[in-house]
């Protein structure tokens, strides 16, 4: 993959993620705005390019893996909530620590099922 493609990914990914993040900023109540924390931003930026460069079958395979990634994101968000409410961690610490939950579930699924 060439440098141009990485630059394209960076700009498009940054733009789409920012767009969904701003939508989350301006919407109320907070729990509704939180929906945008799980928006398909990286997926939209990546799948479009994958379809063009590698074909629909390749992108469909990425989407199949994304199902496990999305379940991992659900567990991640739940872990964040628990860390903030039960263990009184600040948002930065909770959202950083919970990445372990995401990695464990998603990479665990990959290692156990698809590897």
């Amino acid at each position: 993959m060439g440098a141009v493609q990485y630059i394209y990914r960076f700009v498009v990914g940054g733009f789409i993620v920012s767009l969904f993040a701003v939508a989350g900023d301006v919407l109320k109540p907070k729990s509704f705005a939180g929906l945008f924390g799980a928006a398909p931003s990286v997926a939209l930026a990546t799948l479009g390019l994958a379809i063009i460069l590698d074909g629909k079958a390749y992108a469909a395979l990425e989407a199949r893996s994304m199902v496990a990634g999305a379940v991992a994101l659900l567990l991640y968000s739940w872990a964040c909530m628990q860390l903030m409410v039960r263990y009184r961690l600040r948002a930065t610490a909770a959202s950083g620590a919970a990445v372990l939950v995401w990695l464990l579930f998603s990479l665990g699924t990959w290692a156990l099922i698809w590897r």
Binding site: V17, S31, A38
Partner: protein, 147 residues
């Protein structure tokens, strides 16, 4: 519960906070592409659902809510943390929508036009997320109570 737009929230966000989110989003997208290229679409696809937006958003929510309370002469750190926890509750519901987004792309993409598939999947994410959020609200948040 009525959904509202609060445009003034944009003024509370500093320029570098937008920059951080842009860098995080761009960075994760590059990493997902690199992993797919290096190790194949099965491993790379997992990272399409990496928490790219949530960490920065929750931190901002906490910071802005705490500042609001400070201006009113209160500590506000507890309120800020709980506001961020509410944000994570929304992300749990949005994740269910994201599972449906991924399922839609996986099953529909081999059969339909790519642009139409992505548009349908986005509508599915939004529709499912809002429906589950409304259902949860109607049940007074008992379904996802953190305690």
């Amino acid at each position: 519960m009525i959904i509202q737009f609060d445009i003034s929230a944009l003024k509370r966000t500093r320029w570098y906070e937008y920059g951080i989110r842009f860098l995080l989003g761009g960075g994760i997208t590059v990493v997902a592409g690199f992993l797919a290229n290096r190790y194949g679409p099965i491993l790379g696809g997992l990272f399409l659902a990496f928490p790219a937006i949530f960490p920065a958003s929750a931190t901002l929510v906490e910071k802005h809510e705490t500042q609001k309370k400070h201006r009113a002469g209160m500590s506000g750190s507890n309120r800020g943390r709980l506001a961020a926890a509410l944000d994570s509750r929304g992300a749990i519901l949005g994740s269910l929508g994201l599972v449906c987004f991924a399922l839609t792309v996986w099953l529909l993409l081999p059969l339909r036009n790519a642009a139409v598939t992505l548009a349908i999947a986005l509508a599915v994410w939004m529709g499912i997320s809002i429906a589950i959020w409304s259902f949860e609200k109607r049940h007074r948040g008992h379904i996802l109570s953190p305690r």
